[in-house]
Amino acid sequence: MGSITLEQVCKSFGEVEVIPGVDLQIEDGEFVVFVGPSGCGKSTLLRLIAGLEDVTSGRIVIDGQDVTVAPPSRRKLAMVFQSYALYPHMSVRKNIAFPLKMAGLSADEQERRVQHAAGILNLTDYLDRRPGQLSGGQRQRVAIGRAIVREPSAFLFDEPLSNLDAALRVNMRVEISELHKKLATTMIYVTHDQVEAMTMADKIVVLRAGRIEQVGSPLELYRRPANRFVAGFIGSPNMNFLEGEAAARLGAHAIGVRPEHFRLSMSEGAFAGRVGVAEHLGSDTFLHVDLDDGTHVVARAEGEFPASHGDRIHLTPQDGRLYRFDQNGSAL
């Protein structure tokens, strides 16, 4: 079991308040992603849950037990670090068996669990190698193996894919998602990459400056962002924001339209502008458009759209796909 509850968790480093007070409920078996720009406190929040940092005030409850002051080893959590943090002088087998050895399990039981974990992660052929002899993706799997042998109540991932190249990152993303389906254990995953958040999460927690901006499923956040920050952060390419007259006409300080929610036309539409850069990917076409009022927007057309640099183009937001925000950035 692995339900985790945070109650008014605060963290200050000296004078600097990094997390001013967070309430969060994580259900057993959920895949929760903390996402936000760098420096938003998402890693700190994860380290608070892990017990690697002490909370300044507030309570952390895991499975009904108050673990606010418990050392990391007592919390029954396993963590995968950004640098993998493998022990360089130990073989893969010894790395994976290390937590079991520390727990005082018999050699037979250690070997059985290591073999099981290696089977799940396709590491059986590499058990006698040192971490230095492995590729990035394999090291990543060893780090995950070291986490799963302990059969923890929850896994914590601290930006685990940021050291991998793009192709491998996509593979590992799928592997981690599959692992979650297989193990059905609570996972908390920290990333600054909204694509990882959208593809993997059951529940996304968007953080900014230590505060939770919004919590919800990926599509909830996509469809109903609570404010301008979440709207701009979720979705790729980012949402376009228009201010001034166009927004005032709709009774808002700013309006937002996602690139994929524009209808494009060469002859007529709500907004007109000139195409700056046209990116033709085959499956999609991304047009960077400078509107007549000076605003820069990105529009996505499906398939091949015949527009090139300098063309005049007209954009119309699709019905019901337009977001309105007030002065403070909250959604109307």
């Binding site: 640098s83 130990m90 290390f98 937590p99 727990a103």
Partner: protein
């Protein structure tokens, strides 16, 4: 060195320094070898003659030689144990965040800057002296009989003095090695349930093994030839109790004026040092790779 042309050029460029160093080493060695086969005593000048292996026979059959051998090994071994052990402990302490870290670190490193003769004299007169020394004062303060360190435990006293000099060196190298230990590894071990001791034996010690190797290698080279500390404190005595090989060669040459015998001793010391070096490199080569 990619091409043959570059290789030749590189050899040409380093050759002056190689030749200079080689000459610097080969001339004294050749002269020592030459003297070691001569009957050459400073008290009877002009009587030099070739006498074959006799010098070696006399030096090796001298009972002082085996005592000196034993003392040399005890001195090197004892100092290594104390400096490596103490160095690890001090490095661990100095690695902790504390008030006045910079000043404390400089204080710890200070003994390394003091020349051997001075530090040995300070120890001899201010600490170990049975009348005026600090240790004697402590002993008298608790009503005990002061110990005359240099007379009763001469070799141990010298080991202590030399260790005090070399402890900063070991501490410094081990501290820098300790600071390069990845903090995420320590955190991972903490998450894995490792206690302080387990973290030390499974993470810190293996991480330090390379630095420990370097400390042992460098210290051994210098400790085989400890001399000044012995000269200014015990003069190798009482008897031969604190005479090491270096000091024995010195006494042969400059107290008994037997240059031939001393040269033979010097050559034997060179051979022994090389044997030690071979063993060390074998043992240590694995960790250095």
């Amino acid at each position: 060195m990619a091409t043959r042309h570059q290789k030749t050029l590189a050899r040409l460029m380093v050759s002056p320094s190689v030749l200079l160093l080689l000459g610097w080493m080969i001339v004294p060695l050749a002269m020592t070898l030459w003297f070691s086969f001569q009957s050459y005593n400073l008290l009877s000048p002009g009587m030099e003659q070739f006498i074959g292996w006799t010098n070696y026979q006399y030096f090796l059959s001298d009972p002082a030689f085996w005592t000196a051998m034993r003392n040399t090994l005890l001195l090197v071994g004892g100092v290594l144990v104390i400096t490596v052990g103490g160095g690890i402990a001090l490095a661990l302490l100095l690695d902790q965040p504390m008030f006045g870290q910079g000043v404390v670190r400089i204080l710890v490193i200070a003994p390394f800057f003091i020349m051997p003769t001075v530090s040995a004299l300070v120890w001899k007169n201010m600490f170990m002296n049975p009348v005026n020394g600090l240790f004697a004062w402590f002993a008298k303060a608790v009503g005990a009989q002061p110990i005359d360190f240099l007379a009763q435990y001469p070799l141990m006293s010298i080991i202590l003095i030399v260790s005090w000099q070399w402890l900063p060196f070991a501490t410094l190298i081990l501290l820098t090695a300790l600071q390069s230990l990845d903090s995420e590894q320590m955190e991972a071990a903490e998450m894995d349930g490792a206690g302080t001791l387990a973290k030390f034996t499974h993470l810190v010690l293996p991480h330090l093994s390379r630095a420990i190797t370097v400390v042992i290698l460098i210290e051994t080279i210098f400790l085989l030839s400890v001399f000044a500390e012995i000269l200014v404190t015990t003069n190798g005595g009482p008897g031969y109790q604190s005479t090491n090989l270096t000091y024995l060669v010195y006494s042969q040459a400059l107290l008994q004026f037997d240059v031939g015998g001393a040269s033979a001793g010097g050559i034997i010391a060179v051979i022994l040092a090389n044997i030690v070096a071979i063993f060390l490199m074998r043992m240590i080569g694995k960790t250095l790779e």
